[in-house]
Symmetry: C2
Subunit: 340 residues, 2 copies
DNA sequence: TTTATCATCGAAATCGATTTCGATTTTACC
DNA sequence: GGTAAAATCGAAATCGATTTCGATGATAAA
């Protein structure tokens, strides 16, 4: 079961390794006759170039790294889905790592990927990432980097995002137009830009429609979990009876709220309207089905990969790289949790 | 931004590449003095061994391949979660590919992973995989292989599974004990062993409890989708009024059934009991919450990886490999969709 | 002082593929 | 036949780290 090498083919045919290599790569200084002979034997022996050797020579691994906060997550798994599928089609394999929302792990993983010499890195930042030295290291390493969804404006690289501010605005506006007069917001953590922007969109919509902003009905979900949605809904129900609308940072949180109100018999959307964010599959099958903002995960993955491959190609050629920021559209998905 | 190599360190210190290499690997034929000097400079220059070169020399990539049918799937994404987390802790990276339930893609991906020379392969077969030549190729290639969940008994390798037959039995028994007298089964595709075994467990339970098996209330879900659950529920409701229990091959299918019955006002579990399979998160948050069989995805991923690493280590040492099949326990999760 | 032992080092081969550059052979043409 | 041009080939360097094996110098024992 010895591995077939160029050397073996060369010896068997009585020619040099050089010629074998050239024949396989279809160089034009190899006669058609020997070319055919080499191709033939290579096929017969099922020759596979040793990728380790190829990597070493060509200095590329045809592999890209992907770091996301977590993989058991509808939005991210959709992104991963798109990335690995498209990458494979383009001849690249994907190494996936998850930061588990830990800045420390994220840093280690960047080092890992760089030491593995991936051709490029795709990533979505953890909610707790504040220091950005590891990202700068990637750039100074000349390894192409594309950030998506959870990005940092301070890093000079290509990015694929949605407009969280306007999406947050749309979600709130949808509640307002469906008749809500006092709208609470179950926001995300304080650090990530996306969560901040959705909150700002919420605030702006209230303002534009002359509803008073009330910080006592803005709750912060640290873990963006079902339980937080449930608990905050309980708080609303017991301490803020007049709230008639909730904009949740994510469908999971929204579903937690729906579960609570179902439990205590508060009618959705009659007594309270709820809108989530992301359009997870789950949101469409609960009852009442949850209105939400569609966040195009698959598209985001696809676009991010495309940008990355472009930069990889440019870097290889030594061309100047043109970073770009792509903003993908979102849209309101009207379901039964709002009375629009 | 030139890469730091052993050669550079050697030249800077006026010693040989050999000694630098040995110093870094703490060989004992290097004096403490030079060792310190090398370590020092290496640190200062931020030396990172070129993994391509290391791979070529050591003939291992510290990378494993993972093939699953699909990643946007609660059960599989949990497995992936476990695998990449544990792998990273053990110094291995994971390349993920998804077969999209295509035998052809699966074959290509095996070739890809072998040509990339991953140190081992973990996989769960696609529902449509019938020919097993690609798996035999992996074995004859001496690349360690561990199959999990969707396996083939015909392949001689380590496996991590659940006992689908007894789990199917338990699910059906649970319905029976909760008072169901006529139980339908929304089964999985005809090919995969797991789906067959769950069906057999269902049949056996009926038999043990003296319920008549009726093939007209066994429906086959080709895609194991929400819609199939919904549509088959409709069929039950319109054509088999006397059915009072459903065992669905998967939570997703079960949730489809729940959605239909909710829609037409059939009371769950009073009029019909439903049990799913896998214990997806989603099943716990719909209403009524769905009883199910807990399938330990994280454990399965963890165990599979552990077995694989063991075989990788054994293979490297040239030891005889002892394949083993691990059967993980499942358990019934009682929720509100059954009246136990 | 001589010999044996030990501590330190490095030349060179190796992993397998790629590529440069020069050598050789063949063909074409006068 | 002789020369120029084209076609065909291969030696060797290279990518960077690892490891074998031998060389050198230092130290200890005789």
């Amino acid at each position: 079961m010895a591995e077939v090498t160029l050397k073996q083919i060369a010896e068997e045919l009585g020619i040099s390794v050089t010629t074998v290599s050239k024949a396989l790569k279809n160089y034009d200084d190899v006669s058609p006759k020997t070319k055919a002979a080499v191709l033939n034997l290579a096929q017969k022996l099922n020759y596979q170039p040793n990728s380790f050797a190829v990597n070493l020579r060509t200095k590329e691994s045809k592999t890209i790294g992907l770091i996301i906060p977590e993989i058991v997550h509808h939005f991210f798994s959709n992104i991963v889905n798109a990335i690995i599928e498209k990458a494979e089609q383009k001849g690249y394999l994907v190494i996936i790592l998850q930061s588990n929302e830990s800045e420390e792990l994220e840093k280690k993983q960047i080092d890992l990927l760089l030491s593995k010499r991936v051709d490029g890195i795709l990533m979505s930042l953890s909610n707790n990432t504040k220091d950005l030295e590891h990202l700068k290291k990637v750039l100074s390493h000349k390894t192409p980097l594309v950030l998506f969804d959870k990005i940092s404006k301070a890093i000079d690289c290509s990015k694929v995002i949605i407009d969280d501010r306007s999406a947050g605005y749309d979600a709130t506006e949808h509640l307002i137009k469906s008749g809500c007069k006092k709208i609470a917001h179950f926001r995300g953590p304080l650090n990530p830009q996306g969560s901040i922007d959705r909150f700002l969109g919420y605030k702006k919509a209230l303002e534009d429609y002359n509803l008073k902003f009330d910080s006592s009905i803005v709750f912060t979900c640290e873990k963006v979990s079902f339980n937080e949605g449930y608990e905050f809904a309980k708080k609303i129900h017991t301490e803020h009876k007049d709230v008639d609308g909730i904009f949740a940072i994510t469908d999971l949180v929204g579903i937690g709220a729906v579960a609570y109100f179902n439990e205590v018999g508060v009618k959705i959307p009659e007594q309270i309207g709820i809108i989530g964010f992301s359009n997870w599959f789950m949101a469409s099958v609960i009852s009442p089905s949850l209105s939400t903002i569609d966040q195009p995960g698959f598209e985001m993955g696809k676009k991010s990969l495309k940008l990355l491959l472009k930069e990889i190609k440019a870097t290889k050629k030594g061309n100047q790289i043109q970073h770009q920021t792509v903003v993908l559209p979102t849209k309101v998905i009207k379901r039964n949790s709002t009375a629009f």
